[in-house]
Symmetry: C2
């Protein structure tokens, strides 16, 4: 059951279903699938068109029969990542609402963290660097961010919490915390900071 209280907003309540994404050819699906494996294995930077093509048993220029370029491949991967992370975050806030007990912020952060570190390279790809909004399925960004609004009840705090979570996540993924840091505690501190507020 979705919380329909629509706090002070008359906008249509966002659905927990992700927005429809453009159809993909079977071959494109296959390419993206292989690319994803390679990215999660060695990172986006290490993925070259020739390596990907080799992996698919074709030559690099043939990729351009299916994709406009590497940038489109990045967009496709990034779209999938958004949908997966978003789905998990939606579920986190929903089950927190149902079970009623644990704080929604805590549940959300736990899920966000696990999504990020669970597919670290894909998370980095999806969240690092400038973003070509016009290439994204419309509504995806907003949909993926809505759980943070659900958990905080306020758009400003939602953005702040999302950004803070991203900070923790990306620094963890990038191994930027000094060795020996208690990251569990840091995440907990973040949850606590946004719980009382």
């Amino acid at each position: 059951m979705d919380p329909e209280e629509a706090t002070t907003s008359d906008a249509p309540a966002p659905s927990s279903d992700p927005p429809v994404i453009p159809e993909r050819t079977a071959r494109v699906d296959a390419i993206v699938a292989r690319a994803r494996v390679l990215v999660e294995d060695a990172g986006w930077e290490a993925l070259s068109t020739r390596i990907l093509a080799d992996d698919l048993g074709i030559r690099a220029p043939s990729l351009y029969k299916h994709l406009s370029g590497k940038e489109e491949l990045r967009t496709l991967l990034l779209t999938d990542a958004f949908i997966e992370i978003g789905t998990r975050c939606w579920e986190a806030v929903r089950s927190a609402a149902v079970e009623g007990e644990e704080s929604a912020v805590g549940a959300l952060l736990t899920e966000y963290r696990s999504s990020a570190s669970g597919s670290a390279e894909l998370y980095r790809l999806a969240t690092t660097g400038p973003l070509d909004r016009s290439a994204l399925p419309p509504g995806l960004e907003e949909w993926a961010g809505t759980p943070f609004f659900e958990a905080t009840g306020d758009p400003v705090r939602a953005q702040a919490l999302w950004a803070a979570a991203h900070g923790l996540a990306i620094l963890e993924v990038d191994g930027r915390f000094p060795p020996g840091s208690d990251l569990d505690a840091a995440w907990q501190a973040l949850a606590h900071a946004f719980d009382a507020g």
Copy 2:
């Protein structure tokens, strides 16, 4: 930059002076200076060794008489960025302590944000992707993170605040917030969340 356990231990109280960094040749200084201009202008990704060399009036291979490779150049730029941001953060918490009035967290975040967006490309270069710790001047990271400890009084909260600030900063620099977002308010929300505790 990372908040690490510090005061209240028997370790020497960290100085507000940055750690000494290895000497640089005059020519290296010149190269780094030009590289910095080009990076801040078009980003690290757009900087090629040939472009940099052209700008200096030499050929690309000559750069290797001064630098071991592009990675070292990145380390040098990154080191400068850490020192500058760290210096500004140290000053922020110091003057907040002197004037006593404003919250140290708020002052620190304000300065951190302005450091990041003031030299956005350099900030991105310094904070994005994996970090080769062994190439950094020892103590730099800890020194740059200490202001967050000073502002929060707790190592765990310091790390969480630093990471959260980075999240806000990098998303802002990357233009990742949806257009029309009230970023001033988001930063304020973060400060507020970490003020009370």
